[in-house]
């Protein structure tokens, strides 16, 4: 199976292990990711907060390239996904916006999580599991833009989504219930209001701990970066050592698949997940 792949800007930088684990997992289940040729940044919050035309036209250029390639478009970033789905709605809705870029809406736009959770890959995923993640107690963190607003994402259960929970269970882990599945990590305020980022992520970390989880699983580079890189300083401010590894869901898939690259991916984390996994005899 071959799809167009839109990595997004952070996959070459802060979210490198996400990109590496995606590649490994897709290889294992025979998915060929064809990087979208000449892709550009989706514009993220900075476009939609300042210029409506820009917020539609920047993602539209990528959608147009993907449509010409006649393959579905998959992206691992929740923010890119949200901008693509918003642009799709604006360009193909009842009163379409004209940004002088052709796009008819003939391809599907998917987030990597919803793509890999498709029924057609269930068998291949099951077949690849060599190291079931027994004893891993994880909370699923979907964040905002993977599911909201439902008018754009068409998420079935936007207040209590389940795809990631099902996947964790399938990998042999325990998906722990917590009420903050879709709470906000502050994303776009990362440089401008660090105090707000601290407060929001502190709530998430506290809740994950209270729920009895020993790690958090994400599907977005911004969520992962906020929870991982800021964790030590948030804890220091409160006299707590959280020590909660923050995984990309594809890293856990790679781990369950017995992939050799896991050590390299986990070495990129600020909160090193290896001691936890060693204690659970998964490494």
């Amino acid at each position: 199976m071959k799809v167009s792949f839109f990595p997004g800007c952070s996959l070459e930088g802060t979210a490198r292990e996400y990109g590496e684990s995606i590649e490994a997992v897709c290889n294992a289940i025979d998915i060929e990711l064809q990087e979208l040729s000449g892709w550009n940044c989706c514009g993220a919050s900075s476009a939609h907060a300042t210029n409506e035309f820009l917020s539609i036209a920047l993602p539209a250029r990528n959608l147009s390239i993907a449509e010409k390639a006649e393959r579905d478009l998959v992206t691992p970033c929740a923010a890119c996904y949200s901008r693509f789905k918003t642009a799709e709605k604006a360009l193909t809705g009842e009163s379409p916006v004209d940004v002088e870029i052709p796009f008819k809406g003939e391809i599907n736009i998917l987030h990597m999580l919803e793509f890999l959770c498709r029924e057609e890959f269930a068998e291949a995923i099951g077949r690849n599991i060599t190291t079931p993640l027994h004893k891993v107690k994880a909370v699923s963190y979907y964040g905002c833009l993977l599911v909201r607003p439902p008018g754009v994402t068409h998420a079935e259960h936007c207040e209590d989504p389940g795809g990631l929970d099902t996947l964790i269970a399938k990998l042999g882990g325990e998906s722990v219930f917590w009420p903050y599945k879709t709470e906000c990590c502050g994303g776009s305020l990362v440089l401008t209001r660090v105090d707000i980022i601290h407060r929001l992520n502190s709530r998430l970390l506290d809740m994950a701990r209270e729920a009895g989880a020993d790690c958090i699983v994400t599907a977005c580079p911004l969520c992962q970066a906020n929870l991982d890189t800021r964790q030590e300083e948030i804890g220091a401010g409160k006299g707590i050592k959280y020590n909660l590894p923050i995984f990309y869901f594809t890293e856990l898939m790679g781990l369950a698949f017995g992939n050799q690259g896991v050590d390299k991916w986990f070495g990129r984390h600020f909160v090193d997940p290896r001691p936890l996994l060693e204690a659970k005899q998964l490494l």
Binding site: S37, N40, A49, S55
Partner: protein, 191 residues
């Protein structure tokens, strides 16, 4: 009062977000679910009311429109299907175009640094973007004074050692087309 036939502030907002805004019955659901409400000067339901009452100054001079994280919780939960997150966007867009000082000036400086990075290479280069933002926002000056810069350097080093800082600028073959989009965008203003 607006002259007859002249578009008011409220008209400009409605053009983007629709007439549903008049259905707001101030149930506070948006404000109750907002994760950033603790630091807002006007709560989301008050922003909606200020638009309905055509109170341009009040809405645009708020801190709220800049610290809203666009998490879309308000839009998702509004019983009257008002796209509240989009109202916040439109208000920011109007404020940026007016060129006036924002109540949280660093946020639009960040957006500009982010967009400048896209305009230059077609993609965001995290390192260049952060450098531009810290210089232009006054963040650098402040951190040099307070000694906070040491923590940033430490964080940067940690990122670098983990292979998470891309040093080289990205290359996108479509950069000319991206620049054309920016040129067109400058002509599409709210007014």
């Amino acid at each position: 009062m607006a002259v007859q036939g002249e578009r008011t502030f409220r008209d400009v907002v409605i053009e983007s977000v629709g007439e549903e805004i008049f259905d707001c019955y101030q149930c506070y659901k948006c404000s109750a679910g907002c994760p950033i409400s603790f630091d807002m000067d006007l709560l989301p339901h008050q922003i909606i009311r200020s638009v309905v009452f055509n109170q341009k100054e009040k809405a645009l001079s708020s801190k709220t429109i800049w610290i809203c994280a666009s998490c879309e919780t308000c839009t998702t939960r509004c019983p009257n299907e008002i796209d509240i997150a989009k109202v916040m966007d439109v208000l920011r867009q109007i404020q940026v175009e007016s060129g006036g000082e924002a109540k949280e000036p660093r946020v639009p400086v960040f957006h500009q640094a982010f967009l400048d990075s896209i305009k230059k290479t077609g993609r965001v280069h995290e390192l260049t973007m952060i450098r531009n933002y810290t210089q232009k926002s006054g963040d650098l000056k402040e951190k040099l004074k307070s000694g906070e810069w040491k923590n940033d350097v430490k964080l940067g080093m940690k990122m670098f050692l983990r292979g998470k800082l891309k040093v080289m600028s990205p290359k996108c073959e479509g950069v000319k087309e991206v620049r054309k989009i920016f040129k067109q965008a400058a002509e599409h203003k709210k007014k």
